[in-house]
Symmetry: C2
Subunit: 230 residues, 2 copies
């Protein structure tokens, strides 16, 4: 048998790390999330004032719960059954096991006013599949909100080019097993991904880490064009 594709390796890594991940998120062990990015993504979603939200790659569901507390109706999907079960256990909201390649076939409750992806777009082909499905998941004028690693910060010493990178659980306490690779995208590549799929960038945010005074992440807010070209 040949090695699985890097995209399949990402899912395999989440399947084998679901338990320690759920604990790390629930116990707020990730400093940058606790100090910066959790509140930044909630504020970004609130900024577009959606009624019905899809939390795409919802994990154990903390963001869905936070958005429900703000009065939104939230559906969460994730490819990892153990995390979806945890989300159902810990709060309200409709949670479904849906792999990214299944999104194009539809999600219960679609279309949504907003689709939010919080550090959940880690692959190459799988992310293309998400973006290809977005027009069907969003109402016209609906928003897509992505928070991800800031390319210029996450690049490290490697050349600044799209490509697969080795993953790591460094900085997160827990009984983690082998990490997945992840697909690095330049800022040019991220912006191009939105444009190619009929999404117009409206806002770009760079939430600052108070200790480093550098962006802890990047948030892109885009709107589905009313008149899609394709």
């Amino acid at each position: 048998m040949s090695d699985p594709s890097p995209d399949a390796a990402i899912l395999a890594a989440w399947l084998r790390n679901a338990t320690p991940w759920e604990a790390a998120v629930r116990e707020q062990r990730i400093e940058s999330r606790r100090l910066v990015t959790d509140q930044a993504i909630v504020a970004a979603v609130k900024a577009v004032a959606p009624c019905r939200v899809l939390d795409l790659g919802c994990g154990e569901g903390w963001l869905a719960r936070a958005l429900i507390a703000e009065g939104m109706t939230v559906t969460g999907v994730d490819a990892v059954p153990e995390l979806v079960e945890a989300a159902r256990r810990h709060g309200d909201g409709a949670f479904h096991v849906v792999a990214y390649e299944q999104l194009a076939a539809g999600v219960p409750g679609a279309p949504f006013d907003a689709v939010v992806c919080n550090f959940s777009l880690l692959g190459e082909q799988s992310v293309e599949q998400v973006f290809a499905a977005l027009p069907a998941l969003l109402v016209p004028g609906g928003h897509c909100i992505v928070q991800t690693l800031h390319p210029l910060i996450a690049c490290g010493d490697a050349p600044y080019r799209d490509g697969w990178r080795e993953g790591s659980w460094a900085g997160i306490d827990g009984d983690f097993k082998e990490a997945a690779p992840w697909y690095f995208r330049t800022l040019e590549s991220w912006v191009g991904l939105f444009m190619r799929h009929g999404l117009t960038l409206e806002v770009l945010r760079e939430p600052l880490h108070p200790a480093t005074q550098r962006p802890a992440a990047i948030i892109l807010i885009a709107v589905r064009s009313e008149n899609l070209i394709y």
Copy 2:
């Protein structure tokens, strides 16, 4: 008398450094321009296929000449009379002495299909004045193309926040006098500047320096919305 504003200090610095600057550009002494950013800005303008172009902050006119060679009709404006005279001396094209605060009053030949600003947006209030004038300078559907220092690269060790920074001529041979301060903007701030002025970002480019494998600059291409909100 009080000190001049930082924005006024920028213009004063260009007035006193016009002669060595003209020589540095004409003799291609700036490596990043020679290797990367000159061809990147020409390619970016060609990508939107404009007929009539305004080269805003044209300096000694190299870009105007390059765009004329591509078949475009080019008007160049700059606040520094010595540089405008050099531009007139070295090539075709209509060149005018216009300070940024005068742009809103109009430019001969306006409106244009594209306005290009190549490393010419260095101030705080003066840049706001440029953006406020853009809707009057561009046809509906016209493009604004800005090449500038890449915020994440140019930030250095200072906090990643908008603010005035000390300038320097480091890396450029020539008989330069005191450099001007410049106003650092985060990426979030740059993108917000476009959005606030009715310009929709279409493309973001990060031309790579072949030696460092890091972006040598950032290029933002935005379109004037057909239906301005304000």
